[in-house]
């Protein structure tokens, strides 16, 4: 057991810290889940890309710097410590890209990944439908074969598409074999949202931002070169992405360590009775636990193991920790918690964002079923 980082890793941390301190926008950018904020965030993403901080763990040929998983974690710790902007490109770089690295053709990698890293193409996730949420295999949007043009024609509706109103592209699952049973007969498509037949309607979220969208597809042509993986294998291709979404790539520990530290700072500033102090320390300890559980997992990954259903435990833990951290901050703010202006308003905004965590990427109820069945071996209902 060796709990130290190498001199090279420490040097990388120092470089990240120095660059972020010099470059993180002050005051903070407007929310990336609004139109103006999204544009401002893309400029920031471009700045990250230019110094190869946009996708540190990717190969250099696609815009990364071949960073190890440890360096990626260090970068993330520094990123959130510096209070740097949310990553509006995250659904592309953290959810789609791992799937492209695993299933994509060389042509797809060359065509898509560098533009994704630079923020020139922005990707939203097209999975949920009006009748397919937690029950994702209930997807009804159709893909019909068009042999004459060498592709597929997509029809149907996607919903709760995060930042769908601002993104240029969508990755999603469509039913390509209506005769196959639920999990079979789905295909993973990459869709340019400017293609004729696509209509996008923004939807205001709980926090007042137009962060959601409905995407309507009416006979939208997608070429064979924009199928990811094999036709009718979309479910297994997509499951590779859910592992990322639930696990460490979407929610690095740095994010919660930074929130926990801000909570500690707030508590120092505002004081408070012992009962609250105890709960705050409990949440701080949980953020530490998340960090060390991640180090545990990353050690195993580095040594060749793969993650399995444990990613469901991780998802429940970070999403409920995030809510807890924000609830405690709101308690400390007391009557001022409701204010939408002033230095503390970020806590309510963060709380609204945190509340989505136990819902998206598979609700925590579904995750608990997965844990019981696949970690503890309990029988399916």
């Amino acid at each position: 057991m060796d709990l130290s980082f190498t001199p090279a890793e420490e040097a990388f941390r120092a470089d990240c810290r120095a660059w972020l301190e010099a470059n993180v926008p002050r005051p903070p950018l407007p929310s990336g889940d609004t139109r103006e904020g999204f544009t401002a965030h893309l400029a920031w993403e471009r700045k990250l890309f230019d110094v190869r901080y946009a996708v540190v763990s990717w190969p250099r040929e696609y815009g990364g710097r071949d960073a190890s998983l440890w360096e990626w974690l260090i970068f993330e710790e520094e990123y959130y410590r510096a209070g740097a902007p949310q990553r509006v490109t995250q659904n592309g770089i953290f959810l789609l890209a791992p799937t492209i690295f695993t299933f994509g053709t060389d042509e797809q990698k060359r065509r898509i990944l560098p533009k994704m890293a630079a923020g020139e193409q922005t990707w939203c996730q097209g999975w949920s439908e009006p009748n397919a949420g937690s029950d994702l295999a209930g997807i009804q949007s159709k893909a019909v074969r068009d042999d004459a043009q060498g592709g597929w024609r997509l029809s149907g509706q996607k919903t709760w598409t995060t930042r769908g109103a601002f993104c240029t592209h969508l990755f999603g699952l469509f039913r390509s074999d209506p005769g196959a049973e639920r999990h079979r007969g789905l295909t993973y498509f990459l869709v340019d949202l400017t293609t004729p037949g696509v209509t996008v309607r923004g939807v205001e979220r709980l926090d007042g931002d137009e962060g959601f969208a409905e995407v309507f597809l009416d006979d939208v042509f997608v070429a064979d070169t924009d199928v990811l993986g094999e036709p009718n294998q979309g479910w297994s291709v997509a499951m590779a992405t859910t592992g990322s979404e639930r696990g460490l790539t979407l929610r690095s520990p740095g994010r919660f360590l930074a929130t926990a530290q801000r909570l500690i700072d707030l508590a120092r500033d505002r004081g408070g009775e012992d009962a609250r102090r105890d709960a705050i320390v409990a949440a701080y300890i949980d953020a530490e636990a998340y960090r060390w559980q991640t180090f545990w997992t990353v050690t195993r990954l580095v040594e060749g193991a793969s993650t399995g259903p444990e990613s469901s435990m991780v998802k429940v833990f970070w999403s409920e920790l995030d809510v807890q951290l924000h609830e405690l901050a709101l308690e400390l703010l007391g009557p001022h918690a409701e204010l939408l202006d002033g230095p503390d308003a970020a806590w309510m905004k963060g709380y609204e964002f945190a509340l989505a965590g136990p819902i998206y990427a598979g609700t925590n109820e579904i995750q608990r079923n997965v844990i019981a069945e696949r970690v503890l071996g309990l029988p399916r209902a």
Binding site: A267, I280, W292, W296, T299, L378
Partner: protein, 299 residues
């Protein structure tokens, strides 16, 4: 960074597990509830022979000269089997403090378990020879834990106490993780078999979610405990114990609820582990007390 155990450390743990699987069964623990000492006859000598008791004592003093990282997994196993022996108190706390692999040491902040069969006693007041003090036996909810109040003079411990305490806290936390794992296994096995309404009760979502919560808590307690074994920082040890104690008490509660009435009997084995968890979760300071230590460091 390599946050994992070595193959040798895991092999040593497995060897101890093999020993306990045969020599510390529920029947052995049950027998300890009613025998003279509260301990398992012969087990201590086997742990001594394997080197577990003197593991942290320097090789020049007759120990193995290993570290708390080597010991922590083994202590977790002693929790899993509810070993009724002062193994944390001796191997993690007292033996390396005294540099003696040959003594049995009973230690605790207040009530001292198995003090009557130990050579040296240690409490917050200091250390004493057993022969020099008066022991007042008190009955514990865990019948195998023979706890005593100690009356008489104690010599203050002046050196190495902070790190010894961190090792002790880490060891207790490791045992609580092992107990949690055991209670989870027992319960998962039971709800797979027990049928009501024509199906295993483990197929009900309400039961699944209880057990998932306990499993999640354990998943995030262990890394804190292992980290504290490596750093031996008192604050790190307190974080580990706070999380492990909460985990064990939650798991005990969930395990009992998911068993239903069978778990509420002493004929069934669950209570052996549950009662140990109730005791250990407070014996070296409870979760809130350890969070208070963390608060003093960070707030």
């Amino acid at each position: 960074m390599r946050f994992a155990f070595t193959d040798d450390q895991i092999a040593f743990r497995d060897a101890v597990r093999d020993l306990l699987e045969g020599q510390c069964t529920p029947a052995h623990v049950r027998a300890a509830w009613t025998n003279e000492t509260g301990r398992v006859p012969g087990l201590w000598n086997q742990l001594v022979a394997m080197g577990v008791v003197g593991m942290l004592v320097p090789a020049t003093e007759g120990g193995l000269g290993l570290t708390m990282v080597d010991l922590v997994l083994i202590l977790e196993e002693t929790g899993r089997y509810a070993v009724p022996e002062p193994i944390v108190e001796t191997a993690a706390f007292g033996a390396p403090l005294l540099g003696r692999p040959d003594l049995t040491i009973a230690a605790a902040p207040a009530l001292v378990p198995w003090a009557d069969t130990a050579d040296i006693l240690m409490t917050n007041a200091g250390r004493s020879e057993r022969a020099d003090v008066e022991l007042l036996a008190r009955p514990s909810i865990d019948g195998a834990r023979r706890v005593f109040e100690i009356r008489g003079a104690a010599e203050p411990i002046t050196e190495g106490l902070d790190q010894a305490y961190a090792r002790g806290v880490c060891g207790i936390a490791a045992q609580l993780c092992g107990l949690s794992a055991r209670m989870l296994e027992l319960t998962a096995d039971y709800v797979k078999e027990r049928k009501q309404f024509g199906v295993p009760v483990g197929s009900f979502q309400a039961v699944k979610h209880h057990l998932a919560d306990a499993r999640i808590a354990l998943e995030f307690a262990r890394p804190l405990v292992y980290r504290s074994a490596a750093t031996l920082e008192p604050v790190d040890a307190s974080m580990g114990l706070a999380k492990a104690a909460d985990t064990a008490l939650l798991t005990a509660r969930v395990a009992l609820q998911c068993h239903g009435a069978i778990g509420y009997t002493t004929e069934y084995d669950l209570h052996l582990y549950m009662k140990r968890a109730w005791a250990l979760a407070r014996a070296w300071g409870d979760a809130r007390a350890h969070r208070n230590r963390v608060a003093n460091a960070i707030l």
